[in-house]
């Protein structure tokens, strides 16, 4: 039994330790906002925070988070009030929306460590992600807005 914290609450799983955290979050804990996109750490749809830093949950074995704190999109705020979420709506970023939880988690991670990133820093950080609807221009605007409006 592996024990850890998810969105501030105690969680546990009897999945084998090598199981990707992604599947435990989605199917075991029923927090389905974190998405499966590629399974190999190349699209970022599965992005969560582990002890406050972004991490690909598909590339993290659940055994590795024993005793650690995981935050998913559901735990970013109770009411979509995180500045990044507000900016995402203000800029009308999502289209299909499937990748956006991961994008938002990465953006929140960036702004936490670097509240006023340059455009190049945003592009560098966010190029870990794929949005097949191509909402990149709006993601960029939303991150700049969140940085501005905090």
């Amino acid at each position: 039994m592996i024990q850890f914290t998810v969105n501030g609450k105690a969680a546990s799983t009897d999945a084998p330790p090598a199981t990707p955290l992604l599947w435990v979050i989605r199917e075991g804990l029923k927090l389905s906002g974190t998405k499966y996109g590629c399974g190999v750490g190349l699209c970022g749809a599965c992005m969560v925070h582990i002890d406050g830093k972004r991490a690909f949950s598909c590339q993290t074995q659940v055994g590795e988070v024993s005793g650690k704190s995981v935050t998913t999109i559901e735990g970013l705020s109770d009411d979509s009030s995180h500045p990044v979420q507000k900016a995402w709506l203000a800029e009308k970023v999502p289209q299909c929306g499937y990748c956006q939880s991961g994008q938002i988690m990465s953006a929140a991670d960036l702004l936490k460590r670097n509240p006023h990133p340059t455009r190049d820093e945003i592009v560098e950080h966010m190029s870990a992600h794929i949005c097949r609807c191509g909402t990149y221009a709006r993601i960029l605007s939303a991150i700049e807005r969140a940085s501005r409006e905090g």
Partner: protein, 739 residues
């Protein structure tokens, strides 16, 4: 803010107004069959589903007949009803329509419930306006009767009926509490519809109804669904269509903790397991050990060699065309008489959809196999019901479909066989339990249904003055429509429209045009893919026109303006985009501009790419992309911009990097490490302008995609003097061209 229902709320509200317990429901179906046109409240207990329902508290439910994959139809279509109804948008709730084609079918798809071709707004616009106006008229009639005044004395403000003479007002909710729907829909004449200047919603941006759920993780896609008693399923499908499973190491699969059983299917092997992680491990074990019977056509096919053969056939005039796809005047005869004849060859590769949500579905087949409940993301509710019914040999009323938001569609989720849904159905039937069937990303690529390969041989005949009088094309391409949808292929009288559309140049003043199709069937799985035939066909046309302009020594934009002399709307988008990009200026060092124009299902677009090339790596960098789009009345202007940004980014991938190769009939790529799509670092600054006109609305969802490759190709020619003749314009190809 407008809200969308979570599935449970949605089921509740759907039941509630199918029963029609309170308020006023409407199902007028615009001159369709009589039974569908009967108002819900007047059917004596038979629950016909209405288009709209008004609750005494003022809430207005409006059905959304299209499926939602990010394009915004779930907002735009109900909004059109709300406009003519003069509804207060903040009181409108949109509800996904049940599967009833007679009421909700898409007029643009022969009445199927089908969302594709960027045609939802275009196809439903007229009927939804009329319907909204009819509902408004019923409210007015009821208010007039209630107040005992002439209906002509009444006006409306959003969700309120007003009698100015007496200063009285009644909300729509108040009227709904006592009103009666007439047996027959009121007659509305076209002149009774709103004038565009009076629109309160059309042309004004609203928040898309499903967006709030897409920033907090609550938006539900089929992959998120869990149902009681559910287990997990995966499938290893033959890498080649028609292949059947031979041997695999069943004992090894079953030894994995959590694996319940394996299921042998005609086209592959399924695995059932208690958990998601066990099923993925089981799938892996099957894949590592399985061998296939080489039944089916594509075994042995090699796409590089196939392309060579296609190109040779296109160019060899003694190889007969299969059909005259498009013929206007006498291109052949005029070529023979032309002062100058120019020729060109182009090739376009296979490409993959790469929607972010790998395909999946949840099915719960009843233990006796006579009914099924399905949760899936489909572009067609009709096919989402019919495919499971066919797979189980049951009637379609025994299929209960819950269709969800889709993590991208792009043409992949509307095939007649909906094989990913059937995967779930067959596994559930075997398990006698509900099954969540998920493809991995590798499955999604390997089972990909591709944008087809095409080879094009073109000739243009110019008269003494340099005017293009004849345009002649021979196109050899892998068939799509007969594979994707044999039924629609039959209805279309065996025309492969998904492959061929876009070769016609109806807006250009080129009197004699011809395109012959050289039909080829490699056996490879193929599909509509955002932009369909337009992506390849407009690429070759616009690149060849650029070659002609260069040969004639005239400006490419000027050439298009000449050709568009009978198309004022076309001229307008071209002139404006040239102005935006400051066309004609001297580009910055190491950069060049390239232009393209396309007409796509009556939407008109101009595009200009500014590029540079890294001669060492062969990478083309697109710095800026200017685009104008005239898609008639812009129903949701900001969403048209968003869709155009989206389709341009998609087109960049098609133009620059996205390439599938096939060896021995099987797709060689597996995931995003060997199938490169555009990321944030790859995209240009995009400058997009919607040119609003009062023409009926036309499509916006994919129109930018075919614009990109020719604009980039033409910029490359301007920069380097070399013409790239293949898409995608990969670094290897660039380096080869510059060597």
């Amino acid at each position: 803010m407008n809200q969308i229902f979570s599935p449970s709320q949605f089921e509740f509200s759907r039941r509630r107004f199918m029963i029609g317990a309170a308020g006023l429901s409407f199902a007028f179906a615009f001159g369709r069959s009589a039974d569908a046109a009967t108002p819900a409240g007047a059917t004596g207990g038979k629950a016909l589903s209405p288009w709209a329902s008004i609750e005494p508290d003022g809430t207005i439910f409006i059905m959304s007949p299209a499926t939602e994959m990010g394009q915004g139809s779930m907002t735009s279509l109900p909004l059109i009803v709300a406009e003519e109804l003069d509804a207060d948008w903040s009181k409108v709730r949109t509800v996904p329509a049940p599967v009833m084609e007679k009421i909700y079918g898409n007029p643009g798809f022969g009445g199927l419930m089908y969302t594709a071709g960027s045609n939802a707004v275009r196809s439903y616009y007229k009927e939804l306006r009329l319907f909204g106006a009819q509902v408004r008229r019923v409210l007015l009639d009821n208010a007039a009767k209630h107040w005992n005044v002439a209906v002509e004395e009444l006006t409306t403000e959003p969700s309120v009926v007003i009698h100015a003479k007496s200063g009285r007002k009644m909300t729509y909710g108040e009227i709904a509490a006592f009103a009666e729907a007439p047996a027959k829909a009121p007659d509305i004449k076209p002149e009774q519809l709103k004038q565009p200047k009076d629109f309160r919603l059309i042309g004004k941006d609203v928040m898309r109804v499903e967006l709030p759920g897409k920033v907090n993780g609550t938006a539900q896609y089929s992959i998120d669904v869990q149902v009681p008693g559910m287990i997990y399923g995966a499938i290893v499908r033959s890498p080649v269509e028609g292949g059947t499973p031979d041997k695999f190491d069943e004992a090894k699969v079953k030894a994995i903790p959590g694996v319940i059983s394996t299921v042998r299917l005609p086209y592959g092997v399924g695995v059932l397991a208690e958990t998601a992680w066990a099923v993925l491990a089981g799938r892996e074990a099957v894949e590592q050990s399985i061998s296939w019977h080489r039944t089916g056509k594509a075994w042995g096919f090699d796409s590089d060699k196939g392309m060579e053969a296609f190109a040779a056939d296109a160019k060899n005039l003694s190889v007969p065309v299969t059909n005259d796809w498009f013929k206007q005047g006498d291109a052949e005869g005029e070529l023979a008489k032309a002062a100058t004849v120019l020729e060109a060859e182009y090739r376009c590769d296979y490409a993959y959809h790469a929607q972010m949500e790998p395909l999946n579905a949840i099915a719960s087949v009843s233990p006796d196999g006579t009914s099924v409940e399905v949760w899936c993301g489909t572009q067609s509710q009709t096919l989402g019901v019919e495919a499971p019914a066919k797979a189980l040999g049951i009637s379609r009323d025994k299929v209960k479909l819950h269709y969800t938001l889709m993590g991208g569609g792009f043409g992949r989720r509307g095939h007649r066989d909906e094989e990913f849904i059937v995967d779930a159905v067959l596994l559930s039937k075997a398990a006698k339990r509900p099954v969540k069937m998920m493809w991995t990303r590798e499955d999604d690529v390997h089972n990909g249904r591709l944008r087809p390969i095409t080879a094009h041989y073109l000739r243009a005949g110019l008269d003494q003055g340099g005017k293009i009088v004849a345009w002649h094309q021979r196109l050899a391409g892998d068939r799509v429509t007969p594979y994707q949808d044999p039924v629609r292929y039959q209805i279309a009288k065996h025309k492969d429209f998904i492959l061929m559309l876009g070769v016609e140049m109806r807006t250009y003043d080129i009197p004699h045009q011809y395109c012959g199709q050289i039909y080829r069937d490699t056996g490879v799985r193929t599909s509509s893919l955002r932009g369909i035939g337009f992506t390849a066909n407009k690429f070759v046309a616009e690149a060849f026109l650029d070659e002609i302009a260069l040969k004639r020594g005239i400006d490419p934009v000027k050439l298009r303006l000449e050709l568009l002399k009978h198309t004022p709307r076309g001229k307008a988008v071209v002139e404006r985009v040239a102005q935006m990009a400051n066309w004609g200026r001297k580009p910055a060092d190491g950069r060049a501009l390239g232009f393209a124009f396309i007409d796509y299902s009556d939407s008109l677009l101009g595009g200009i790419a500014e590029i540079s090339v890294d001669r060492g790596t062969g990478v083309i960098k697109v710095h800026n992309f200017w685009c104008t789009i005239d898609c008639g009345t812009p129903v949701q202007p900001d969403n048209i911009i968003a869709q155009t940004q989206s389709s341009i980014v998609y087109g960049l991938g098609m133009a620059l990097t996205e390439r599938i190769t096939v060896k021995d009939g099987a797709i060689q790529q597996s995931n995003f490490y060997d199938y490169q799509v555009m990321r944030m670092r790859d995209i240009p600054q995009m400058h997009i302008e919607v040119i609003a006109t009062n023409n009926p609305p036309t499509g916006a969802g994919q129109m930018g995609t075919p614009l990109v490759a020719p604009a980039v190709n033409n910029a490359f020619a301007a920069l380097t003097g070399k013409r790239l003749r293949e898409t995608p314009m990969t670094p290897e190809r660039v380096k080869k061209a510059l060597a």
